[in-house]
Structure formats: C-alpha cells, structure tokens
C-alpha cells in the first residue's frame, strides 16, 4: 500500500510545517519597569502557589498538489495548573505542571483520526522557567506518548505537543510607549529535523488595561521570521523552508507578576521537500490562533 500518497503526505508535511511555525517565531522577549517610568517585569511563583490556565490552539493547514487543495484542521484545548516548587541554583522557577484537561483533534483527510489522549489528564511533569518566562526545561520522566497515527509522524512525546505556556518577558526596564526590536536565531528539534528559526520581533508596550480584574500591561509583539530545516523523519529526508508572520498580544499583571492572557495569530507559507526515494515538493500554508488565559 502506498503509505505516503498525496493526502497522507500532506498530513505529514503540514504537521511538520505547523511544528516549525509554532516553534520559533513567537515573542521571546518582552518588557520592563513601572508602567509609566519604567519597570522590570518578572514572574513570581511562590512555593506551593498555583496558577491555572486554559489554552486553546486552532490550526488550519492547506496544501496543494496539481491544483487540488487539501485542508487539515487541528485543535488542542488544555487546562493546566502550574504549582511552584522552589527555585534552582540559577534562580529559575521549578514547578509541577499538571494537565487538568486535554483534548486534541485532527480532521480533514480520510484516514485521519484524532489521537487517543486519555493518558494526559491528571498527568504531571516538571516545568522549569526563568523569571522572564523563558522555558528552561519541560521534563517528563514518564514520557507520555501521543500516537498521532502513522500518517502523521507516529507516536510523539507529550512534551512536543506543548508549544505555548507562559509568555516571555523582557530583561530590560521598559515603560508604556516603549518600542524595541529583538532579532534572534535558534535551532530546535522538530520531527527529526534541525529547524533554524530566525525572527525579528517589534515589541510595543501599548497601554495599561484591566483584564479579568487585573491591572495589566498590554504588550504587542509583531514578528516576521523564517524557518529552515532539514533532517530525517520516518525514513525520509526532509527539507523545509518557510516564512512566518505572527502577531501576539500579552496581558501581564505587573503587580501580581503573572500572565493573565496571551493571544497569538500566526500565518506561515512554507515548502516541504521530501528527497530521496519518495521525491516530493509540497507547498503548505498554516494559519493558527493560540489563546492562553488565566483561570484562577
């Protein structure tokens, strides 16, 4: 049987494109200071303190072969609780990340099935993040796996499914009205590929706004970037190239030192090349919306 036909291939390559698109082009730095005079922004999570968030990701991926279009819709809804467990020697927060609820759906192509995620609710892993919200580590000693099906990369660790948790904040002191630009390049591992994410983000602290009863700084981040990757997945040599545009709005409660809400919309156009015996070049467009909101 042809395992990777046009449609099954489209699932795989759009999955790769999605993973790459989400991995590198969100805001990675943020703001600092007293809202008017300037202040340093940082998270605070005391030992035993818990923050519960709901997170929703919807993604639509489109690909085209010989003028025929295929669409795949993916959704992920998570409710998770972060509970402080202290700090490490470098001042990073160590926390227990518990999945209170988790659903993941995929549809659009015959043969595609939403994965079984019944092992996830109640599962706990270790989440270490810097005071500025940078993810230091997401450790899952039990290595919960989610089987996306043979069409879509097979079993993947749960940690690879968790794309967005807390927004990153700037190290420098910033105030309302400040605009600054951050360029960055990093390499991530996605589905067997080394993916180089290069991005330039323009940040603006737009205003102060009350959200869900919290006085928040509204931080706008507009990112343009590229993704370039190559590697091997399921025995196939893959190369990906893409351009990504992302707009993210973060609401950060500067007094309580916690993120209240983050909304991010992303658009990427990419090309995935499968070289070697399965020789195929496929264009992919990915549009996604991510919302993370404090529940309690």
């Amino acid at each position: 049987m042809k395992k990777i036909n046009l449609r099954t291939m489209s699932i795989l390559v759009t999955g790769i494109a999605l993973a790459a698109a989400l991995s590198g082009c969100g805001p990675k730095n943020g703001i600092v200071g007293d809202p008017v005079k300037g202040m340093a922004l940082a998270y605070s999570l005391g030992e035993g303190q818990s923050l519960t968030y709901s997170s929703s990701i919807t993604t639509t991926m489109n690909t085209e072969q010989m003028g025929q279009a295929f669409t795949i819709d993916q959704g992920q809804d998570i409710e998770f609780t972060i509970t402080g467990q202290g700090k490490d020697s470098e001042g990073n927060y160590i926390s227990a990340l518990k999945f209170d609820a988790y659903t993941q759906t995929m549809e659009g192509v015959p043969g595609m099935q939403s994965p079984d995620v019944s092992d996830v609710p109640g599962h706990v892993m270790e989440y270490i993040f810097s005071p500025q919200g940078k993810r230091i580590a997401l450790n899952d000693p039990d290595t919960v796996m989610i089987d996306l099906g043979q069409m879509n990369g097979g079993p993947q660790p749960l940690t690879a499914m968790i794309q967005v948790l807390l927004a990153s904040l700037p190290k420098d002191v910033k105030k309302i009205g400040d605009t600054w630009t951050d360029t960055r390049q990093d390499t991530t591992q996605r589905m067997g590929m080394d993916v180089i994410n290069s991005s330039e983000t323009t940040y603006t602290i737009e205003t102060e706004e009350t959200v869900n009863g919290y006085k928040c700084l509204k931080i706008l981040a507009e990112t343009t970037g590229t993704i370039d990757g190559s590697g091997e997945t399921q025995g196939m040599q893959l190369t990906i190239e893409g351009d990504v545009e992302t707009t993210t709005t973060v609401y950060f409660a500067y007094m309580e030192q916690k993120m209240v809400k983050q909304v991010s919309e992303s658009f990427s156009e990419s090309t995935v090349v499968v070289s070697g015996p399965v020789n195929m070049t496929q264009p992919v467009v990915t549009e996604s919306k991510i919302t993370v909101e404090l529940v309690k």
């Binding site: 042809k2 036909n5 046009l6 010989m66 003028g67 669409t71 025995g235 090349v273 499968v274 399965v278």
Partner: protein, 518 residues
C-alpha cells in the same frame, strides 16, 4: 455402445454445465499454495531486489520475472506494442533559465519575481510569449454537460488567458459541478488543454479570494534558499501532446493584473459564483511577456500486463482486472534496504498465483482476465493512473478491478475488503466466494484507506473495485518489512478468495453494478 452414448451424453451435459457454471474449479483453487506464495515473496523482497524503487534496475528485474511467470502460465502479452510491458514515462523536471514574467499595465512596465510573484507550472512548455494581449477567461472551463463555457464571447486566439484555479461554486453543495467535489474540469491539465483548443498562447492561473496561499504555491525545490541536492521532482507523464506557457501567480500580482479590467479579483470571483455564469472579458490595457524554461529527463517504467482471454464470444470483450503494485520505496543512503515483503511483494505474489490458478482451472471463464503488476504506486499510484488514462482495453468494458496490496500479515483469519461500496453485486460475489470456498473473516472497517492504492485509479473511472488488505503493521515502509514475517497460509487463502471472486464475476451473465459513493 449405449453405455458409451450415455456416458458421452453425460459428459456433454457436464461440459455445458461447466461452461456456464459459477462453480469455481477446484484445480484452480488448489493450485494456490502457501509454498509458492512464499517463494515469490522471498524473491521479490530479497536484498538483491534492493527495495524495488521506481525507477531502478531492480524494479526492471522484477518486471522481467513477473513477465516470465505470466508467460509460463500461458497468459498472452496484453500490450500490442510492448508485449507484457505497458511502458510509461516518469519525468524528472528541473527549472532551467530563464524564467520571467512581466506585464505592461496601461503602458507601464511591471517586472515580477519568480517565487514571490509567480512560479512556472510543471505542465508548462519551454518558450516565450512577448507583449501578448490578455483575456480573463473565468475558470477556463468549457463544459457543455453543465451548460457552462468560459470561452463564450471572447477570442483567446494568440492571447494569454487568465483563469481561476478550481471550478465555479466549488464550496456550494448545490453546484452544477457535482457539488463540493471537484470534477476533472478543475485540473490544470484540462484547463491547459481547453486553452490550447481555443488557440491561447499562454495561461496564467489566478488564486481566488479564498485561496490560503498569498504567494504562488511553490513545488520547485530549486527555489528554496537551501535546496537539497537530490530533490528533483519526479512526475508521471500523462500528456504527450502540445502544451503552452503556464504560470501561477500570487495574490498581489493577481490583484494588479485584474485591476486593469476595472474589477477586483473578488468581484469577478463572486460574480461568477453567485450567478453560475461566466464573466469572461478582454483586458485591453494589459499585455504580458512570459518565458518559462524547464529541463528534464524521461525515465521509462513498466506495468506488467498479461491476458487470459474469456471463452464466451460476447462476454470475452468484457474483462476483470486483477492487480497489485510490485514496486516499493528502495534503499536509503544506498545501504538500508526497504525490502517491502508485505508492501507489496505479497500482493504481487497473489497476482501471480491467481494468474496461475486460471491457467490451471482447465477451462477459461466467460469473461477475460487482465493481470497487471503496477509500477510507481509508492510515488503516487503512477502505474495505475497511467493505465486508467491509457487503458489497453476500454474501461467501459472493464467490469471489476480486484487489487491486492499488503495481504500477508497480522495473525488472524481476517482480510479487510475495502471499497465494496462501489458495487453491491461485487460485494455479494465476494461474500459468496468466501462463504463457499475460503471462510476468511471479512473486515469492512478500513475504508479510510480507500484512496491509497491502485484500485482507486479504476474507481475514478467508474469501475467497481475491491481492495484486499491485511491492515497496517509497525513495519510499514520500514526496513523491517521482511519476508520472514509473512504468513503464507493466509496469503494463499486470500489468493483463493480473489480467484473465486474473479471466477464467479467472470462467469455471471450480469456485470457487477457500479455505485459512485464519493
């Protein structure tokens, strides 16, 4: 003497009965053995065959082996020009130089860039059009059966036509163009041929407002920033006639070009979709210059085709195809062999054994049997797609296609039968054959794989199909898909089921019905 006469009468009666009987010959069934199934798989999936990639010398060796087997069973060569081989070409195509696109918009020259603004289509010819007048031709469709013609009222001769991708009312379930399903009119190739028929010099494909791509979708690896060295698109050559200059533009270029007509892309798109009527028009202030250059090689590949002629003077013009693909995915890094024992040395072995069973049956069935080992399945059903576009016998006389793909694994008494919705009577025949001769458990829950093997090329041409498969394994498309894991006894049972089904279908007076269900 009288006793002899009685015996002779009985014998004649037996022959008559045999001649119109749906009783499947035991000699045929018994000739399908686990030992022979295994021997075929061991050979086809051996390291020497290096994964039977399309194309490869090893694939050609397998084709020779299959052809020799067909000959030894007494099957006739089915291709009038190439005997046991139906030859088709794969194209390895690269972008050459130059490739350019510019427009003169109300006297102003506008240069567009490859990749960001336009890409040459894979179907394009090598050549140029210079300062050619432009006509907007809707979707580029002439479809009398739907009462729709984008070329009515315009003269495309010597001009470049600009057309939308897809077809009118593509998202409308009530669309005359078969609802939300695409008809063949949505294919680039059909639009190109229609433009050629109307004398066009070139064609520019436009994105519609709902197209998710902003830039033209790029399927040329050489346009990547860091193109992989060994990535050269390989496509099936389906068209050997004339072609013209074809490019696809992105949204920005499309808006700029259409704006010369005094309308927007959205206005034209919505105008056609809301009325179901063409809005084709000349665009007097616009001319374009396009150059496209491709370079590439043709690589011949073989389907292997053997014929077992039917005995009925009328029904022998109708045939049943029994097929399976003999290719797999080759080697990786020149060292790791993907043997493809289950996928699909097993199905190929099944085709061989069933062919032999017909030759052992002692009598020909009423209808003709055509055995095909397909190449290029793993690349995109290329072999069966080519056959369906260039059938050796009329497809309207092809009454059924039985496809064997991965029939050797999973330790149970079950075989999945996929696509049985395409024919109520063929499904019944298969169940009858199973109940009387084989007693496998038939699984009907694998329809999600309906698009993924060679039967689909026939289904698209309105041929009833059944796809036999013993489900996925963890070894699928891995070097671990090896001969030691196959279950020859199960393969033999499936082979007997297909043989019995084909026999009964070939004997019945009525041909199987066909149900278009997707």
């Amino acid at each position: 003497m009288r006793k002899r006469l009685v015996l002779l009468t009985l014998w004649c009666g037996f022959c008559v009965l045999q001649g119109f009987s749906q009783t499947v010959p035991a000699t045929g069934i018994d000739s399908i053995t686990p030992e022979e199934m295994k021997a075929h798989v061991v050979f086809l999936a051996s390291d020497q065959m290096r994964g039977r990639n399309t194309p490869s010398p090893e694939l050609d060796s397998c084709a020779s082996f299959i052809a020799a087997e067909f000959a030894s069973y007494g099957l006739e060569p089915a291709d009038p020009d190439h005997g046991y081989y139906q030859v088709f070409n794969l194209l390895r195509t690269r972008l050459g130089t130059p490739n350019s696109f510019s427009a003169r918009i109300s006297g102003m020259e506008k240069e567009y860039t490859i990749k960001n603004d336009f890409v040459p289509n894979h179907e394009t010819g090598n050549g140029s059009v210079t300062d050619a007048p432009v006509v907007f031709a809707g979707y580029g469709i002439t479809a009398p059966e739907y009462g729709y013609d984008d070329y009515t009222g315009i003269d495309a001769k010597g001009k470049v036509v600009m057309v939308f991708k897809n077809e009118p009312q593509a998202d409308d379930p009530a669309s005359a163009f078969e609802g939300t399903k695409n008809t063949d009119y949505a294919q680039f190739r059909v639009k190109i041929d229609n433009a050629l028929d109307h004398g066009a010099a070139g064609i520019v494909f436009l994105p519609d407002p709902g197209d998710p791509f902003r830039r033209p979708p790029n399927s040329w690896p050489s346009l990547l920033r860091n193109p992989p060295e060994d990535a050269v698109p390989m496509t099936l050559e389906t068209h050997t006639g004339k072609t013209l200059i074809c490019i696809t533009v992105g949204k920005k270029a499309a808006e700029e070009l259409i704006a010369v007509s005094g309308k927007t892309v959205a206005e034209l798109f919505e105008g056609i979709d809301s009325s179901g009527k063409p809005m084709s028009c000349d665009i007097p202030g616009l001319s374009v210059s396009i150059t496209t250059t491709l370079k590439g090689d043709k690589i011949p590949v073989n389907n292997v085709v053997g014929l077992w002629e039917g005995r009925d003077p009328q029904l022998k013009d109708e045939l049943i195809v029994i097929g399976g693909h003999y290719d797999h995915v080759g080697v990786q890094n020149d060292t790791i062999i993907f043997n493809g024992a289950d996928d699909n040395a097993s199905g190929t072995a099944g085709v061989l054994e069933i062919a032999e069973a017909f030759s052992e049956a002692g009598v020909h069935p009423r209808r003709t049997l055509l055995f095909i080992a397909f190449a290029g399945e793993e690349k995109g059903l290329y072999g069966s797609r080519f056959y369906a576009e260039h059938p050796l016998f009329p497809l309207e006389n092809t009454v059924a296609m039985l496809n064997l793909d991965m029939i050797s694994r999973n330790d149970s008494n079950e075989v999945a039968v996929i696509g049985t919705r395409s024919s109520t009577s063929l499904k019944e025949i298969n169940e009858k054959a199973n109940a009387e001769y084989v007693h496998l458990d038939l699984g009907y829950d694998q329809e999600r794989y309906f698009l993924q093997s060679d039967h689909y090329s026939f289904y698209k041409k309105n041929v009833p199909v059944i796809f036999y498969n013993t489900r996925d394994t963890p070894d699928l498309h891995k070097p671990t898909d090896t001969s030691d894991k196959i279950i020859p006894e199960k393969m033999a049972k499936i082979g007997r089921l297909v043989f019995a089904t084909a026999w009964i279908a070939a004997e019945r007076q009525e041909r199987p019905d066909f149900v278009k269900f997707r």
